[in-house]
């Protein structure tokens, strides 16, 4: 009886691997069902590690978004094409437009 109950319970519950998988970036073709969303929130209410996983991974996602804004300008503003490659490029253009 007890074994049956455990089996039933386990079938109802997500394990941590599934819970972490369902947490982010679900492709629209595979959207979560209502049952999955319910299972996910049930799992998180019991599992401190998965709560941490969710919070921390979400945080890293936001950090990467802000990283995009700084890196598209900030990191590269002082980068230049070397004079040597510019001259090579000019020569190539001349050759090709002849």
């Amino acid at each position: 009886m007890r074994k049956k109950l455990t089996q039933f319970w386990n079938g109802l519950m997500l394990n941590c691997e599934d819970a972490t998988r369902l947490s982010f970036d679900v492709p629209t073709q595979l959207e979560l069902t209502f049952a999955e969303r319910l299972q996910l929130s049930m799992h998180r209410s019991l599992c401190l590690w998965c709560r941490r996983y969710y919070k921390q991974t979400k945080f890293l996602g936001e950090a990467m978004k802000s990283y995009r804004q700084t890196s598209s300008e900030g990191d590269f503003t002082d980068k230049k094409l070397s004079d040597e490659s510019k001259n090579k490029l000019k020569q190539k253009l001349k050759d090709s437009s002849k």
């Binding site: 394990n15 972490t20 595979l30 019991l46 890196s71 000019k90 253009l93 090709s96």
Partner: protein, 194 residues
């Protein structure tokens, strides 16, 4: 009669801008240089079609964007995604296979993080470690993950460009997240630096 475009000036005026633009997207200086060169060569070929309705820079940038997209397309064809690349991440060790519901393996369970701005977003070393962790991902996984998380490209576009099924894409993103979180935990949040 159209005045003739001075090619030297075209290079002097815009090549640094285009180089930085390409670099921000592909993050590889020699590749960025190649893309800029291809852009100019294509531009010269289509000089007659350029009708000065747009500025030179807009025109060149449009060509460059096309070249970058083309690069990703070629790149994904040359190196078809090998799902075994994911094994390098070692994320299957993160969970046990014993049928338990709470199945994080003991040594991989997420620990508490100090998320104060001082320890994170306002700390430039945080981004260096983050960049290092991204570079640690296998090449293809890194490209997919960066395009989604940093460049904000739509997931269906990424699946098309890399010829991935939604399921495979999902697996890649999941493993990459697990691996990145773990890497940041070990190398930053639990490390005695910052």
């Amino acid at each position: 009669m159209q005045e003739k475009i001075d090619l030297d000036q075209l290079v002097d005026n815009h090549s640094d801008y285009l180089f930085r633009y390409a670099l921000a997207k592909v993050r590889d200086e020699s590749l960025a240089e190649d893309l800029v060169q291809e852009t100019y060569l294509a531009a010269v070929k289509s000089l007659e079609n350029y009708e000065r309705r747009s500025t030179e820079r807009t025109w060149l940038t449009a060509i460059l964007k096309f070249k970058i997209a083309d690069h990703y397309r070629k790149y994904s064809k040359e190196t078809a995604f090998d799902i075994t690349e994911l094994e390098q991440l070692g994320t299957e060790k993160f969970f046990t296979n014993d049928g338990k519901i709470l199945n994080w393996s003991k040594q991989f369970r997420p620990t508490r993080w100090n998320l104060s701005p001082f320890k994170t977003l306002e700390n430039s070393e945080f981004y260096e470690v983050l960049e290092g962790c991204l570079k640690d991902l296998p090449d293809k996984v890194e490209s997919v993950f960066r395009l989604r998380e940093i460049d904000g490209v739509d997931s269906t576009e990424i699946q098309e460009a890399f010829h991935l099924s939604p399921g495979n894409y999902w697996v890649i993103m999941h493993r990459a997240r697990l691996s990145l979180r773990r890497c940041m935990e070990v190398n930053w949040f639990n490390a005695e630096i910052g």
